[in-house]
Subunit: 449 residues, 2 copies
């Protein structure tokens, strides 16, 4: 995309490249830097970064990937690091400090003024993925006795460094949250209106230790662009802005996608991960699932004698097992996703069982009929085989759908991430059930074993 | 959650219930209405809704589910519908009109003033899932010759009905977008500053026909809270706000989750779907995948003679097939998700192949060694069987990971949704490959067939 700039860097035309990148938005410049690291060299990318005007460089920095941030911190002077840290929004700074090596953090903190240092140390104590680690302290705080005019003047003086002033927070002397006023209201009301007359006192807030997934749900429910965060004593400690929540939503979704595909959770992106890292992410669950399929295999082993008599039974095995796995995956995905977006609740479990039973009946009849016709009518197979396969299929779909629909809810009830219960694990379970149903039915219907 | 209010409704204490719900946020009131429909009756829920003050009822309405919206429209007078339609934000109104039956829409439009009607008709023509169907026309438009003071006065007069005035758009006489000014800048600059001196002319915008998935990516990349939409002649036609994009992101994720679990796409939520609807969503792919496992079965059938000689081979079949399926699902999920968040690009295909080959080598060696030891050393199986199973496993993992990593990219290249290629489809493909590799190796190594 940015071939020209890449070529300029390759030819060491740094000034020309710098002037060219300045035509772009900061998020684009960050992309150019990432591309330069990949296609030219980290050294040249850093030179380009260092040539950016300081106010732009700190914003570009906040758009870079974690790995690139660390590499740039390695390649620039302490003074430059200090400048970036000072200029970053407070929440971006905390993110950076959480990732930097301890000695660099120590050096940065030693140069930060005492008040800010204290605050930073406090923020670094919040658990990752909590409201505390997402929030920023750059918000507009007003008093309810102020008029609209006074408020706007106050914002004119103090507002420039605030990450968002679109919602102003009104606190009492004890810093407890009393109300909010959207900036929109300041604009449309008369100068001498008192804030207490226009503020909204029915404020929705979260605790600093609240998990980010729950916070994302609050944002989605109320269509907020910012949300206040309070401590145990209900004092306002920060705000969370919607741009960070969009990232949280994508991150939580990625986690669910990965869990549902039997991958260990990972913060790293695929393209940034080493071969060994990717292998470590994949091996544990593959081993677990392998054990379960060994169990399935040993169940089949118990019916060896029967199998050797009716070897045709083996050819239908993948279909019965596969359909069971897919049917279970459909139900578990619908329920897991339903819980993630707040549609399905823990108390709905019996309702889900009943629904899945009825859906299974419809799905099972369609698929079983199809197979019966295929084996008995079209394929000239024996009636016994046709009945065995069709009836197994029906029962397997029923079992798979009930298990797929309920296991995720049970998991959540006992505090396990429902996504972990998902497709591969449920598929393993349905595999065992499938072969058991299949061979037991075969034993009775075909009269062998 | 809202037991008390539900009980009041059951006891027909409507006034008491109404006063109680007014303590809640509009999004909560919408939830109460939904709960009342479920647990009391639609009629009583509608009575409660009609008793809300009008300005609140229209906002509550925008938070209701599609089904409930339609039921309420059915249960209230035309005049009330008209009021809600008039009060809704423009984008919410378009959403509603898109869902209402044609005769109701016609009635509503006949009572709307001509100018607005023309606009509505134009909006209804944009494809669902396009920028045009997401955008609102309620934005603040200024001229670059205005001063800060004039702008704020203008907003004071016109801003109250705008969905967002946090970004102001500056247009020339031809309504072409010239620049943007965040409201923040209006606040912090002096009264007599001209907009043209503080506006940002490097504006990022999208076309009205752009797909919503791409728009979500723009929001995520640039951390925007609003984005201007232009027509083919680059005239500003609307803006898209972040709250709608959050919904788009969740909707697109749900679509991907469903596709990856072999479900037909659906706009309806699980709890709102009928049994037949759910069955229809599930049967098509189950049939497709059943066909593919019939093919797998017929491949096994070709090796019947060998199977009857070494029946133990069957017991390892679920493990080889299952591990292949899971290994493929891991790779495809990583790549599909990587493409969705913009990490993996179409041009990365060879890079992905090379990475997957190396990861497969590591994963394959670990799992194969484990199986070799289990079968030959611990299980006292024959050397031939141990080699057959281990070597098959290694090759199956390699094949599954390369296919899983590349098929989604190829799908995207030829314009198919990569998620469709996902787990169940790739699992079916790896099943066929698994049994083929397994039995061919068995033929050679065990010297039978």
């Amino acid at each position: 995309m940015y071939e020209e700039i890449i070529i300029m860097l390759q030819e060491k035309q740094f000034n020309k490249a710098r002037n060219e990148v300045l035509n772009y938005n900061e998020a684009d410049i960050a992309e150019i830097i990432e591309e330069a690291i990949e296609e030219v060299s980290i050294e040249k990318a850093i030179i380009l970064f260092r040539m950016l005007p300081k106010d732009i460089s700190s914003e570009v920095f906040s758009f870079l990937s974690s790995d690139t941030k660390l590499e740039i911190v390695d390649g620039i002077t302490d003074k430059e690091i200090q400048y970036i840290v000072d200029e970053l929004f407070f929440d971006d700074m905390i993110d950076l400090l959480e990732e930097l090596p301890a000695n660099v953090v120590k050096k940065i903190l030693s140069r930060t003024e005492k008040e800010k240092r204290k605050l930073i140390n406090q923020f670094l104590k919040y658990p990752v993925d909590s409201a505390g680690s997402l929030m920023t302290i750059e918000y507009a705080d007003l008093k309810k006795e102020m008029t609209v005019k006074e408020s706007i003047d106050y914002l004119k003086q103090h507002g420039i460094s605030k990450e968002t002033i679109y919602t102003c927070y009104i606190m009492d002397a004890g810093r407890r949250l009393e109300g909010i006023v959207p900036l929109r209201k300041l604009i449309i009301n008369e100068d001498d209106t008192l804030l207490k007359d226009i503020m909204d006192t029915d404020v929705i807030f979260v605790n600093a230790y609240e998990d980010q997934e729950e916070i994302a749900k609050v944002f989605m429910k109320y269509d907020f662009i910012a949300l206040p965060v309070v401590d145990k004593e209900n004092r306002l400690v920060g705000i969370i802005t919607i741009d960070d929540i969009v990232d949280v939503i994508e991150q939580e979704n990625t986690e669910d996608f990965h869990r549902m595909a039997a991958l260990m959770p990972s913060e790293k992106q695929y393209m940034d991960s080493s071969v060994l890292y990717l292998a470590r992410q994949r091996i544990p669950w593959l081993l677990v699932l392998m054990f379960s399929s060994i169990v399935t295999g040993s169940i089949i082993g118990k019916f060896e004698l029967m199998l050797s008599q009716v070897i045709a039974l083996v050819t239908f095995l993948p279909m019965v097992m596969g359909t069971g796995g897919n049917a279970g995956a459909q139900s578990s995905t619908l329920v897991i996703r339903g819980m993630a977006v707040g549609d399905v609740k823990l108390t709905d479990i019996l309702w889900v069982v009943w629904k899945e039973i009825r859906v299974s009946a419809v799905v099972g009849i369609v698929l079983s009929t199809f197979n019966f016709v295929r084996i008995y009518v079209v394929g000239n197979g024996s009636l016994g085989l046709a009945v065995t396969v069709s009836l197994s299929l029906f029962l397997v779909i029923l079992a798979a759908k009930v298990i797929g629909g309920t296991l995720p809810i049970i998991a959540k009830k006992i505090g396990i991430d429902p996504a972990i219960m998902a497709n591969p694990l449920i598929a393993s379970l349905t595999d065992m059930i499938s072969v058991t149903i299949y061979f037991i039915l075969a034993t009775y219907i075909l009269g062998i074993g």
